[in-house]
């Protein structure tokens, strides 16, 4: 199963889990599975229209899905997907 890495600010919505195993063959399917497992995270990733919010950055391995095929980017068994948050502390 692909593994989705959850950043600290969003762990409040995944029962504190730092990594969540997700099923799906694409980023979109993996996120659907994530929000099915943890519905409270959904409004933080998607806007009212169901689109991924612009400040949400997803990387498959080292690559931004924006530079691949967006939410249609395919993912494989064992891929590590990272959600990268905006943080501002200093």
């Amino acid at each position: 199963m692909p593994v989705l890495r959850i950043p600290t600010p969003l762990r409040a919505y995944t029962s504190g889990q730092s990594e969540v195993n997700v099923s799906g063959a694409s980023i979109a399917e993996a996120l659907t599975d994530l929000t099915a497992q943890y519905p409270a995270i959904k409004p933080h990733l998607f806007n009212e229209g169901g689109d991924l919010r612009p400040f949400v950055n997803l990387f498959v391995g080292e690559k931004n899905i924006r530079d691949l095929q967006g939410v249609d980017t395919p993912i494989n068994e064992g891929d590590r997907v990272m959600l990268i948050p905006s943080i501002a502390g200093g």
Binding site: P9, A12, I84
Partner: protein
């Protein structure tokens, strides 16, 4: 012509002179260089200490705050004797004690669209050690417009990020984060806390990147983002590319001058965390609340995390953490007169928005939170 080093300086920097990648010429380059450190807090402390020790010839410090005892858990440039003093003056004294041969220029003012270009234009490099989104976007845009490298670092709880945003050679901050998160989604350190050592780890990496850029050695984190987590002790790297749609550094950039960053981000350009207000008509002050509880039956709703209740609590308050509020509204009665509070009033203002949009009409926000109550009503409670 690079400046010469005198005998005292040669002895002081001898461990640098022994490294071929730095050497005498590199040390003279550092003496000739300048760095602007925006923010003299958690990140600015190690950054400016190490840049000063390394012999960067001129360091600018921008901050308008004063040293508070709650800073000292992580802002190691300041000391207990500095509490109440201007941060830039406290930091300058420490840096000149560490290295009297360098120049420290201080800017005791908020970094804003009005002064930022003027302040930053005479520095070789900018280091972003600010604590809020508006100033981060401002710092990025200033660096892009002036064509300077922006050595970026950011922290939250156990997480850190480091990169070198340099639009001439790679992506900028906006290429990665075109828009800020909605207000309230990402808590500030004043609300969410931060491990005191974290800015030490991350600020030291930030200073390392700055020195590499100034010396022109190694592979700086241009086009790469470092993600650190202290609990996992993990270092992950991801690749960053220039975003062709970037509004400040892309080919069709439409932001060509500094904007109103507080408006853009929807939050104030500071992180004091103790000034939370829900806006006119929605706030109640601590002394007003103290009067009202004498005569009225009020429901008190505490939206802090459960571990914070061990620090201070109000009797009879119901605790529903902000993150759980939306799914636990059924536990509340919209007919009740209710006062919502948190540590400083920021999270409770978000809670109030959520409650009013769910049809609760008789709710107020405790301005300044339980800390205001502790300062103005019940001095037996600690402020945190």
């Amino acid at each position: 012509m690079l400046p010469e080093l005198n005998h005292e300086e040669i002895l002081r920097y001898s461990r640098h002179l022994l490294i071929p990648e730095v050497g005498l010429e590199g040390q003279r380059k550092l003496k000739n260089s300048s760095a602007l450190v925006v923010g003299t807090g958690g990140l600015g402390s190690p950054v400016s200490l190490y840049l000063a020790a390394a012999g960067v010839g001129r360091i600018g410090l921008v901050d308008y705050d004063v040293v508070d005892s709650s800073n000292l858990q992580r802002q190691v440039i300041h000391g207990t004797s500095g509490i109440g003093k201007l941060k830039v003056e406290s930091a300058k004294a420490r840096l000149l004690d560490l290295n009297p041969d360098i120049q420290i220029d201080v800017y005791n003012e908020p970094y804003t669209s009005e002064n930022a270009l003027r302040i930053a234009k005479d520095y070789d490099i900018i280091l972003d050690g600010t604590d809020n989104f508006p100033t981060r976007y401002l710092t990025n845009d200033v660096a892009v417009f002036l064509g300077k490298p922006n050595v970026y670092a950011s922290i939250f709880r156990f997480d850190g990020q480091v990169s070198v945003f340099y639009a001439k050679e790679g992506p900028c901050y906006r290429c990665l984060f075109p828009e800020p998160p909605p207000p309230g989604l990402v808590p500030s350190c004043a609300e969410g806390g931060v491990l005191g050592i974290l800015p030490g780890t991350i600020g030291t990496l930030q200073a390392t990147e700055a020195l590499k850029v100034l010396l022109g050695i190694g592979d700086p984190l241009i086009g790469k983002l470092l993600l650190y987590n202290a609990l996992d002790m993990s270092f992950d790297f991801v690749q960053l590319k220039k975003n062709p749609k970037c509004r400040v550094c892309g080919p069709n950039a439409d932001i060509t001058e500094l904007i109103d960053y507080e408006e853009f981000c929807g939050v104030p350009g500071h992180d004091h965390g103790d000034e939370g207000s829900a806006g006119a008509g929605w706030d109640i002050t601590a002394p007003e609340l103290a009067e009202r509880v004498k005569t009225n039956h009020l429901k008190l709703l505490d939206v802090r995390e459960p571990h914070e209740l061990q620090i201070s609590a109000l009797p009879n308050a119901v605790n529903i953490p902000l993150g759980q509020l939306a799914s636990r509204l059924a536990e509340l009665n919209s007919a009740d007169d209710m006062v919502v509070f948190c540590k400083g009033g920021t999270r409770s203002a978000r809670a109030l928005e959520l409650l009013t949009s769910a049809g609760f009409k008789k709710v107020k926000n405790l301005k300044g939170g339980i800390n205001a109550w502790a300062k103005e009503v019940d001095k037996n409670l600690p402020v945190y």
